[in-house]
């Protein structure tokens, strides 16, 4: 099992979610996050004073998938979240040790 953390542009969430649904991914966790990469932040103006906002809003999708569909999932996120402009985000992949479905007590990939 692999855990994916995909940081994407907020307005791309629906497209990514639909693409993952089509691959049979049955659940995901979504977090509103702030941060910066090479895109950097923006400036805001209040009564003539310029405020530099370093951290800009992004969406972080967390999903755990079985090893055999990992490549398809990565490709699906990459294709749907891409605009080609700076700030499209990143995907990180980790090993996931175990999964438990709380309701039934099932373990491993069947719990996904």
């Amino acid at each position: 099992m692999k855990k994916l953390e995909a940081i994407i542009k907020p307005f791309k969430l629906d497209e990514v979610k639909d693409a993952l649904n089509e691959l049979g991914i049955q659940g995901m966790t979504v977090v509103e996050v702030k941060g910066f990469g090479r895109q950097k932040g923006h400036t805001e103006l209040y009564r003539g004073a310029e405020y530099v906002v370093d951290f800009i809003p992004k969406i972080k999708i967390e999903i755990v998938v079985s090893d055999d569909i990992l490549e398809k999932v990565l490709k699906a996120i990459e294709q749907t979240a891409k605009t080609g402009k700076i700030g499209d985000g990143k995907i990180f992949v980790y090993n996931a040790e175990e999964a438990v479905r709380i309701r039934t007590g099932e373990r491993g990939e069947v719990a996904l």
Binding site: L45, Y46, R47, G48, A49, E50, Y51, V52, V53
Partner: protein
């Protein structure tokens, strides 16, 4: 214990029965308009609460709104008990009113001594709303860091020994209005210069907010600020046109100059900002409108609508420059009370000395541009006297309150915010678990 009840009866019941009959100088139309104006000016204080409330950080929204709202309650009582008497009571050497009218003793339905066309009680209450909003304006300077109890004590003492005497000097038969002959139609000096000088003094005495200016402190809810500014503009018609103390032509003139200056100043601020920062902001437009309303206040009933446009242009551009100077000068007047009310109020008082015209209002005087340079000098003396008086006495009050009670919240409380630490509430509930905060 019958004795306390007797005092209660004496203070609260006797005066009312003395003046049951209306004298025939009282004019129904005038009385109606001043009653309405009083209610309009009352609305400005909650408007100010929203104006300021939107500009602070989320954790301080209730504390900031509370600063204005509690003063509406507190000063309403102070004014009835002794504030009105000190400001408008029998003159003592041109300096202050006597305490003869303590608890509105002798203030009833009879014609008001200052304005016999309306009942004394109406005049008292109209003036009371000005006394409410003036200390509320100061709260923008020490927003997000003052101790609530100290703030209440400061405000009561300030209204008693700064606001009431100053109102007496200008409007209550004291030396500025009666002897010097300076013009202040609706409170440019009494309300705006006095609150702004007190605000600047307080900002310096209490010190900067933790993290200012390294940490960025954005307004948390600008739509709330814009709503507040709209309520201020609406209420200002009562403030300025009501200051004619009659319904009729003069009130109409003040109404028109007020609206014209507000619009012009908003445009001037916005245009200046556009040139400077390449964008016209919503906060800029409403700040400019308030600057224009402040600047036209002393002039409203003495100048023509075209002069109001020039006053508005000056207000919008000067106040924009002033709030931008704040970061250079390094003090933390958090919500720009001095930048807007101080600079706008001072410009308005000077501009009254430039643009006033007896052709517009025979009860006024001619200014510099109408051939009378002496009015400008008179205005400057009145401004300077107000600056010195307000600064010295505000400083003394602040120092005494600081030594005895402490002005500032503890570091932890300031970090957590006024809402939770001072009032035990949250302005907004963003909890995801069925309203439960995690």
């Amino acid at each position: 214990m019958k004795f306390p009840w007797l005092i209660f009866l004496l203070i609260f019941c006797t005066p009312l029965s003395l003046y049951a009959e209306e004298a025939d100088t009282i004019n129904a139309g005038d009385t109606t308009w001043i009653l309405v104006s009083t209610a309009l000016v009352m609305l400005m204080t909650p408007g100010l609460a929203f104006f300021y409330g939107g500009m602070v950080r989320r954790k301080n929204v209730l504390g900031t709104i509370m600063h204005s709202f509690i003063l509406l309650c507190l000063i309403s009582v102070v004014w009835v008990l002794w504030g009105y008497s000190l400001a408008f009571g029998p003159d003592k050497g041109g300096i202050v009113g006597g305490l003869e009218w303590f608890g509105l003793n002798g203030v009833g339905q009879e014609p008001a001594p200052m304005s016999p066309n309306i009942p004394h009680l109406v005049f008292m209450m109209f003036q009371g709303m000005f006394a409410v909003i003036t200390p509320a304006l100061i709260t923008g300077a020490f927003a997000e860091r003052i101790k609530f109890s100290s703030f209440l004590v400061f405000s009561v003492i300030w209204v008693t020994i700064v606001y009431s005497p100053l109102a007496h000097w200008v409007w209550g038969g004291g030396w500025i209005g009666s002897k010097l002959g300076a013009l202040d139609f609706a409170g440019g000096t009494v309300v705006h210069i006095s609150s702004a000088v007190a605000a600047l003094t307080a900002a310096v005495v209490i010190g900067k907010r933790q993290g200012y200016p390294r940490e960025q402190m954005h307004p948390h809810n600008l739509p709330m600020t814009i709503l507040g500014a709209a309520l201020l503009w609406f209420g200002w018609f009562g403030f300025n046109a009501g200051s004619a103390l009659a319904s009729g032509g003069l009130a109409a003139l003040a109404f028109v100059t007020t609206n014209t200056a507000a619009g012009t100043a908003a445009l001037a601020w916005s245009f200046t900002e556009w040139l400077h920062r390449k964008k016209a902001t919503a906060l800029g437009v409403v700040s400019g409108a308030v600057a224009g309303l402040v600047a036209i206040t002393p002039a409203a009933g003495f100048v023509s609508p075209l002069s109001a446009i020039l006053i508005g242009i000056g207000a919008g551009s000067l106040c924009y420059l002033a709030v931008n100077l704040k970061s250079v000068l390094g003090y933390d007047d958090s919500l720009d009370v001095f930048g807007i009310h101080g600079v706008g109020g001072t410009w308005g008082a000077v501009a009254t000395g430039l643009f006033a015209s007896v052709a517009v209002n025979p009860g006024g005087a001619d200014g510099l541009f109408f051939g009378n340079p002496s009015l400008l000098m008179t205005q400057i003396i009145a401004i300077a006297a107000s600056y010195v008086f307000v600064f010295v006495f505000t400083l003394i009050i602040l120092k005494i309150v600081d030594w005895t009670m402490g002005l500032r919240l503890s570091e932890d409380d300031e970090y957590t915010g006024l809402d939770l630490c001072v009032h035990g509430e949250c302005g907004y509930d963003y909890g995801v678990a069925h309203g439960k905060n995690i």
